[in-house]
Amino acid sequence: MNLQILLIIIGVYALIIGYLGWLGYKSTKSASDFLVGGRQIHPVIMSLAYGSTFISTSAIVGFAGVASMMGMGLLWLTMLNIFIGIFIAFAVFGTRTRRLGAELDAHTFPELLGRRYNSRFIQGFSGFVIAVLMPLYAAAVMIGGARFLEVQLGLNFSLSLFIFASIVVVYVFYGGLKGVVYTDAFQGTIMLLGMIVLLAYTYINLGGFSSHQALTDMAGLVPQKLAADGHRGWTAMPEFNSKLWWTMVSTIIMGVGIGVLAQPQLCVRFMTVKSSRELYRALIPGSIFILIMTGAPYIVGSLTNLYFMMKENKIALAMVMDPVTGKPNIDKLMPVYIGYAMPEWFAYLFMITLLAAAMSTLSGQFHAIGSSIGRDLYQQAIAKGKHQQRTVPFAKAGILVAFVGTILLAYNLSPGIIAIATALFFGMCAAVFLPAYISALFWKGSTRLGVISGMMSGLAAWGIWVLFFHEKESAALGLSKMLFGKTSLVTRTTWAVVDPIMVGLPLSALVTIIVSMLTRKEE
């Protein structure tokens, strides 16, 4: 790859981002503009902004790698992402959220919950949880973007991190949510283009839909260890109830992101449009975007097995074997495949696609963390709603705190924690916010006390499970080892692989229901 051409492309890309951020800045005249885009955002822009915030770099590169190992059964995740993450989210949750948001004049996700129950505590608590835990997720995305600059431009990692985060924070700081959604829509368009080319080129290269049959015929080449775990080929589901089946299905359940419906940075997008009509219209670009953005990596990832078998007589896993550890590194699959199979010009497009995916996710996170700190935690909860005329300066100060906090985390956290950061945040959103959010939208009988108790118990159960039980996370966080000398209190049992969502979410829902019913008369 020619460094000069790449630099020119990145330069042009940065200029366009700068221009869109400036457009956001010019049209931001009020706190409502800064926090919810003045509730006047176009449906196509809203849906692309939603989708590009939803899909980060790791989704593109990581998912393709996983598919090269597990196969096309992962397409269930794409199907559920479209059905739940777009259809249910926009047509059911989105329309209600927008309406309630307008009725309550809510400007953030915590404010929607807080005002629904007339509780500054709920708003402040939600803002606090987001402010403390979302930086972990943002740090993971930031590191992904910085690694890109480090590898592609040969910059030092610390400098890359600083440059990458600084560019994003400038347009979030000045442009507010308008700056975020305008740039997101542009970045989403690049991502869509990149993935369409990748999918079409791969299919054309491998003989179109007949490539499915050719991949099915390779089932006998599945490595023995995977076959023993239940792998039955790249175009079939793993054997029912096998280890691989459970991994795939729980990934699908988690990935659907039971938590996706309650992600603060996504929910706030519903409040940026003028009416339900815009949300119905947004279904069209939104569903096509998610179909391509998640479908393409799974299909292409699986088909790389066929490509490498034809070219190198090896399956995909054998192509990304790490010489030091002797184990495959599936994160390298996509770069290796693109280097082999795609024309050189595509490599540039793919690089910009990855950069766009990281930036669009990070900008939504900075905005959500900043508004949680400035608006929800400080102004509404601590200052009891005073200084309304200073809403935007507070939110901007929050964005700067988010910037500094996330950079410090990204520099200091161990790689083990970064790897689980996204899952941590998604799980927390499901356990803490989902029952409260559903109750706020759909259950008139829910009470303030019920929702507060549900959120608290969800957070406590999720936190305890993460710190002491779910081994993948408790081992990385280290508190269990420090206090009890074991990486998990239930190590080597099935409980050690039960996801924190499975514990936190039902408990939080149950407590919300029971306490609401008990306190209904009083409230």
Partner: protein
Amino acid sequence: MFGFGDFWVAAAYILCILSTVLCVVYGLKHWNDDEDIPAAVHPPDENLDFEETI
């Protein structure tokens, strides 16, 4: 089916496309559907949208 190794993967592939079609058709069907835009019941915060806030 369609060259896939089992029914469930073929079903996922087709359902991905059908879910998208559902979204597109639903979006077109409700293209002009709207509800009355509710008046804010929460008292607007004083000076919240004041221009000097920027």
